[in-house]
């Protein structure tokens, strides 16, 4: 029987294909950025707050597990304080790209930056 524990040609082709696929997607995402102007805060998929990124300030919305503090500084937005098991969204720090959302799944809160030119976005299927 063929040795199943030695890497075959098909393995290498598969790995290279997956690498190409992910590189192509990254290039697509990087090539089509859009101008950031406002940040949209959604809780449970409902828009609760629209923040102008040109002005610095601090905001607060009610997430599932308590208040989520949002801070805007120099055209970037971050989650300042929130209540969740791992604090992924506050560890993420400042975000200024429309392609990088801040996601806080335990609080069901999503902050996305919307572009000026009616949200030119990338579609990956």
């Amino acid at each position: 029987m063929r040795n199943r524990y030695v890497m075959t040609k098909a393995d290498r082709i598969l790995i290279i294909c997956v690498m190409m696929l992910s590189l192509a997607m990254i290039v697509l995402i990087v090539l089509f950025p859009s101008n950031a102007s406002s940040a949209v805060v959604k809780v449970k998929n409902k828009e609760v707050l629209r923040i102008n990124l040109a002005e610095d300030g601090q905001y607060e919305v009610d997430g599932t597990l308590g208040a989520v503090h949002i801070e805007v500084q120099d055209g970037a937005v971050r989650v300042d304080q929130e209540n969740s098991p791992h604090h992924y969204c506050s560890k993420q720090g400042f975000v200024d790209s429309p392609n990088t959302p801040i996601v806080c799944l335990p609080n069901e809160t999503v902050i996305t930056i919307e572009g000026d030119q009616d949200g030119e976005d990338v579609q990956i299927q």
């Binding site: 030695v6 696929l21 992924y88 990956i124």
Partner: protein, 166 residues
Amino acid sequence: MSTKKSVILAFLIALGIIFQLIESFFPVVMIVPGYKIGIANIVGLFALYAYGPKELTIVCMGRIFLAALLQGTLFSVPFVLSLTGGIFSLIAMVIGFRSNVFSIYGVSVLGACFHNIGQVIAITILYQQFFMQLFLPILLALSIVAGLCIALLSTQILKRMKGRFV
């Protein structure tokens, strides 16, 4: 199914649950939210290569259901994400195994990639949001590394276990 085999499969499920629980305590450095290496897939690969696809299904599904029961997330959103990823990776791994062109490395990478693809699809459907797809390229690139590491570990375990009780 002999008693010996069912006992070994039960041990594998228990080991998988422990891997999954311990892994959830130590999140890997955050590049993408929620990214994990998937050490629990070692038991899946072990079952696949020591026995076959049927045993892989038993171990994989048993692990997902029992781990969700222990974590208290049974039939909630994290469970659905885990289940969708599990089913996708299960199907991909069985097809890769049966196609007879991939080694354990290819099967493991296939499983890891399709786990991520399944989860992104589940998130897109559940939350009706498309932002998670932007993480997919990074997740796919990382899943190659994760898949290769898991395959390497599983190979070592399988080699050492051969002839002992499998």
